[in-house]
Assembly symmetry: C2
């Protein structure tokens, strides 16, 4: 069993998390004191404190010196530091979102992409054009520009792109670990080009989103430009307070 090989502090974390989620420890109440947990789990203070530290960082509890460890509502522990994608927010509503691949090709990076990814002009990128369609309505037009050298042979994987999401493909097939991203969200009014692309009957507001994504080693490896129907989409941003 992997259970037996798990470090002790991890077992304590999982056990306490389970009890908090199962409301055995009710929100607002105090967790047993550290001394009690030491006796209960038959371990040292270091181990217990390391476990509680993890629970605190994940938002399950708050420690107050002199008072105790307060149990928080587990609902509020979820989904922090997270921008929901538009696919997420629509599928939550029960709408089926399909993605159709328009084209994929290896090109010289456009100047804006050169700038964002901090690459040379000679560097090649894969340009992926896709649309997102919800209940038959095109709601977004998405351009990904991905460093060609980190995803060699991507154009041969078109079929997989239809079944897997792009990010799942990057992770499973290329073993790329995304570290962080910056989204810049603007809004503007649709013009004739957008009306054509998204089959808009009239002028509507559109989201204009630029995202740059970094790998774990700090390389910016992807830039994404998305145009999204403003009347069919909303962003939800879950934020944790900055500690500094």
């Amino acid at each position: 069993m992997s259970e037996t090989s798990k470090p002790l502090y991890r077992k304590v974390v999982d056990s306490l998390k389970h009890d908090i989620e199962g409301k055995i420890y009710a929100p607002g109440n105090l967790l047993p004191t550290e001394d009690e947990l030491i006796k209960y789990f038959d371990t040292s203070r270091t181990t217990i404190r390391s476990a509680i530290g993890i629970l605190e960082r994940e938002g399950y509890v708050v420690r107050k010196q002199g008072k105790g460890t307060i149990i928080k509502d587990p609902k509020s522990a979820q989904n922090l530091n997270y921008l929901s994608s538009f696919t997420d927010s629509l599928t939550e509503k029960g709408i089926i979102v399909e993605t159709s691949l328009l084209s994929i090709s290896k090109i010289n990076a456009p100047s804006r992409v050169i700038e964002e990814l901090k690459i040379s002009e000679a560097e090649k990128v894969y340009w992926i054009q896709r649309t997102r369609v919800a209940d038959g309505i095109p709601i977004a037009y998405v351009n990904n520009y991905i460093l060609a050298r980190v995803v060699p042979g991507l154009e041969k994987r078109q079929d997989q792109l239809k079944h897997l999401g792009l990010y799942q493909l990057l992770e499973s097939e290329y073993d790329l670990k995304l570290h962080c991203a910056v989204d810049t969200i603007n809004v503007y009014l649709s013009g004739p080009l957008e009306a054509e692309m998204l089959q808009l009957p009239e002028t509507i507001p559109l989201f204009h989103n630029r995202r740059t994504t970094w790998l774990e080693d700090g390389t910016p490896f992807e830039h994404v430009l998305s145009i999204i129907r403003g009347d069919m989409h909303q962003y939800k941003v879950y934020l944790e307070n900055r500690k500094h």
Copy 2:
């Protein structure tokens, strides 16, 4: 000096952070080993490890068992999990943003606020109406609804509200610690009411932002509805990859 009262592990964190930011420890290289740091700072392993743990969570280093502690590029350590406010993004551009208080009053919470803050109908909230003005142009209309019981006497602090930001006031005068927030961002076209409020010469796209803010103990204590000129604002969302 508060320097002397700082816990040891905090001093170690600050010292190492300073050296990483000053490129004394270059990105990509290894930090001195734990044993070396123990000797250098003349302290125990626990203290050194607790300091390195903080640096790792803040994105300054990555620990690899058997190998060492790798120093990351400090640029990538900044600004994660963070939604820049519109004041931020404009002041970055050198534009001075003023906030003018329209009104502040204690009212029964509107139904949407009751719902978002999960309060009873009898519960009172402070309703603060403000506009943000950049270079003489009104760019946003902001409604805060704050639980009256957590900020007693807020209406008497109107003067302070003009100098301090609202959140600074909450922190310094009421000792409230914000824990997290959820922003929901939509977009729509301005109508006559918005044209009046923001002195718009024509129909333009507007951001429509609802934010709920939680205190550290898990109480939702504030709901904010903002209407922001789409042509004068952009959101920047800094995201860290989820670890789970």
